[in-house]
Symmetry: C2
Subunit: 228 residues, 2 copies
């Protein structure tokens, strides 16, 4: 029987790891940690999009630091260099979503490889996976850093298929971000959009193949076990 | 005496024309028109960024319609096709900022050409300028539609310099959007960032040459009249 996929490829920050959990580290400096984290994350992604459009790549750790500086200015928070470094480091020790470990374990039990494709650097991602207790469940961490173009550039998704020398549709890409689901689908991957927040479907670009509301639904929704 | 600039090049939506004024058209359908407009605008720009990254260009009128559909879904507003068309058309009849006309008039009185460079289409832009009473003050409308890549791609800004066969630094680009100021500065234009909302300086990419808080400050702040 044909295998279901060469690998399941997970986005990292926002999909396996919970960006909102940064609120704990941020709460030392502001009484509105959720708003601070939202600005920080939005600006970090905005800079990644702009870097790709402008052709001015800097790696994601650098953009995380720049976006932190913007968020601090925006909210009137003053951070000294040690505090800045400590907050940027909070990305390396981020809490996983509660459903991540069981989902990866279930896929691996079905002999399906589980990879990560992230806008972040390999070093930060490996450390974050290790701290989250997920490192042993991930086969390969792919980073867009290899091509210096951020998702949703097709060349960013191409890092995975090139490493396997396989067609894009041999992979299932799993992400919680609507724009990331669109980018992977446009590249030709099968996409499972994990719509944790109940957001509307994007109205631009190819739709995901599957939509689930949590990683707990992933294996049942895709009918994977029937293929193994 | 050397001329101050080959032309002043203005961003259109958000710089000469007030996107927030869409609230009037939107208020027919929702009790929270400002929030609706903010989602609409944010998604429209998000799709423009994504289209450039993904290499899936659609023109700005199309993205405006797609983003409207997203904003409606997001806010639980139901729009029939006529209502959708009517709201997309609201971009063609948007209110100008109160300081736009005087600034353009002052520059032209100093024999400085005033152009527009917009992510929007030439047709929508011309109609919007005409409705706003600004068309007679604008020499040329340049659109990124010519290269099918949105700002902040350097090729989008290159539409202007290519049309004049001049170096980027012969132009002064005026925009209210931080990311647009960064993109034009990275391309090599001199940039006046009109920071209407008192936003923090962007922390990624080249800084603007000048920062003003309204278009009323532009001519005095740049010392243009001393050069003419």
């Amino acid at each position: 029987m044909a295998e279901f996929a060469k690998a399941f490829v997970f986005d990292l920050f926002g999909t396996l790891l919970d960006v909102a959990s940064l609120r704990t580290a941020v709460a030392e400096f502001t009484s509105e940690p959720d708003a601070f984290v939202a600005i920080w994350r939005q600006k970090q992604l905005g800079y990644a999009f702009a870097a790709t459009s402008m052709g001015c790549y800097e790696d994601f750790d650098a953009l995380t630091a720049r976006a932190l500086e913007y968020a601090a200015r925006n909210t009137g928070v003053t951070l000294d260099p040690d505090q800045q470094r400590s907050l940027v480091r909070a990305w390396n020790v981020m809490a996983p979503f509660a459903d991540a470990k069981a989902c990866l374990t279930e896929l691996r039990a079905a002999d399906i490889a589980c990879d990560v494709l992230t806008n972040s650097t390999v070093r930060t991602s490996m450390e974050a996976l290790d701290h989250a207790g997920l490192a042993a469940l991930i086969d390969t961490v792919h980073s867009v850093d290899e091509v210096r173009l951020y998702k949703p550039s097709p060349r960013a998704y191409g890092v995975v298929s090139a490493s396997y020398r396989c067609a894009p549709d041999e992979f299932v890409f799993v992400t919680c971000n609507g724009w990331d689901a669109t980018g992977a689908a446009e590249f030709g991957m099968r996409v499972a959009w994990c719509n944790r927040l109940g957001a509307p479907q994007e109205t631009f670009g190819k739709a995901p193949t599957w939509t689930v509301s949590s990683l707990t639904e992933l294996v049942p929704a895709l009918g994977i076990l029937a293929h193994t």
